[in-house]
Amino acid sequence: MAAMNLSYAAAIVGAAESNVIGYPEELTGEKVTSLQHHIEAIKNVSDMTGIPISDIQGVFSTGWTGELAEHLGLHPRYLDTTSVGGCSFQIHVHHALAAIHAGIIDIALVSHGEAGWSYRGAGGAGGGRGEVSPGGEMTGAYGVFGAPSQYAHAMVRHFHNFGTTAEDFAHISVVTRDWAQLNPRGVMFGKKQSPFGGPITVQDVLEARLIAWPLTLYHCCIVTDHGGAVIVARPEIANSLRTTPVWVAGAGESMGHQNMLEMEDFTATSASRSSATAYKMAGLGPRDMEMAMIYDSFTITAAITAEMLGLAPRGKGYTLWKNGDAAPGGRLPINTNGGGLSFNHSGMYGMQLLVEAYRQLSRTAEDGVNGIEGKQTEATTCVVNGTGGTLSTTGTLVLASDDR
């Protein structure tokens, strides 16, 4: 069966964040709830695009879909609560593209709200995670607590297979921090935002506190608040709005495993498959990509994903950062917002990837929020890859600018 080509069947017509992200309590003295992050972002994207909230026909989010639609007084004809970790939002765009192409809806809302900082500490302690599943039952005894304790195993296997070192991966932290120096919304923008903010060196990364060897603190993403929303619409609508559309040239999704116990190759993810689908749909390949937004929960996540997306040879993903290609002014800018490592990571970071990709390709990165010289790239194509779970699930989008 030949799949219909969905390329350019829809565009992202706007992307916005909630009013206060990062560490709200420290900035304003008040906590923000997840629902508030959602609603503010949705209001902002509606104002930005001029699309009334009442025109939204499909609601896509992680688990909150019914609650959100009710809160907005909507009676959507398409609901999608796909919740497979941080890549869910890439997958939502994929699903929205299909629903629009099928003629079921014209306008889709993808929304995210997560008070990762305001309501921190709810998980973690106590262990015994996931005992409801047999995979969790057979790993819960062994002292792994949260993502870093698991992802560390992947980096050690990468050392073994490819002869890489912790220093190689440290360059990813350093370059990503350099990008955060161009983004005042990033929590590691400077000392005002966080005592840990400002530029860092490879030595800083290597000498930081160990979380799960070989991962030091600076190999790990931060924990923050975030809300974000994008609207996806069919071409006739996209071309009639005051905002600049960013086209969905390709989309794909896949999964390798749910539990890390089932990870066949600890140095590979399903992004090889999800990106192959997305590239094929787009009629483009890795060499056509002019920038990349890659989920960087940890440095190892970014490095492996760059390899899976075909942006670097196997085992050599880290070289994009080490040789400056990924850095500000480099050949292939990666994670221009400062990444999950230094901009913002609320638990599920996929929406942050989407918002930044939209800003760069719609030429609105200099919007007064991210408005520092050097922030805006000239990219006309961007591969966006979310990774969820423990290197488990992936969603890949190939986005193209309207002026391409």
């Binding site: 262990g127 047999p134 792994v144 195993h153 050690v156 296997r157 799960a212 070989p214 539990n259 600890f266």
Partner: protein
């Protein structure tokens, strides 16, 4: 001293495993159709999708696939940091997770991927003995 770390809640489909563990046996699920051992226990063979499964006693031998050193932990495990977690390639096939014994967590570079390991069991409570793996002589 009472076992003070997280103890798995036993599921409905894994009784033979936990019964075996109490007797110091590593019980593994095997498909009678394709003869492959899988881990974790399933209701259906993940390789050939047969539902004709049996439990066999494993050799208790394996090799280190990869590992990490945990420096941040909660509950009883926080008293043991740093400790080494690892994934073990079973002699019978497929992979198990563990906390590795017989290694120096302060010298992770000395631990060898591919090194042979043997299973041992620790009694956590009267219903539960938990398998751990220890580095063995080659």
């Amino acid at each position: 001293m009472a076992y003070n770390k997280s103890i798995p809640r036993q599921g409905q489909h894994t009784k033979p495993f936990w019964e075996g563990a109490k007797q110091g046996k590593l019980m593994l699920p095997r498909c009678t159709s394709c003869n492959r051992v899988h881990w974790y226990p399933r209701l259906i063979c993940p390789f050939c999708h047969s539902t004709d499964l049996e439990w066999i006693e494993g050799s208790g031998e394996g090799r280190i696939h990869t590992y990490a050193v945990q420096h941040r932990a909660f509950g009883g495990w926080s008293e043991e940091v740093p400790y080494v977690t690892a994934f073990i390639d079973l002699k019978e096939g497929d992979r198990m997770m563990t906390v590795l014994r017989g290694v120096d967590a302060t010298k992770p570079e000395k631990i060898k991927i591919g090194a042979p390991v043997k299973v041992e069991f620790e009694e956590a409570n009267e219903d539960t003995s938990i398998p751990f793996w220890r580095v063995a002589e080659e």
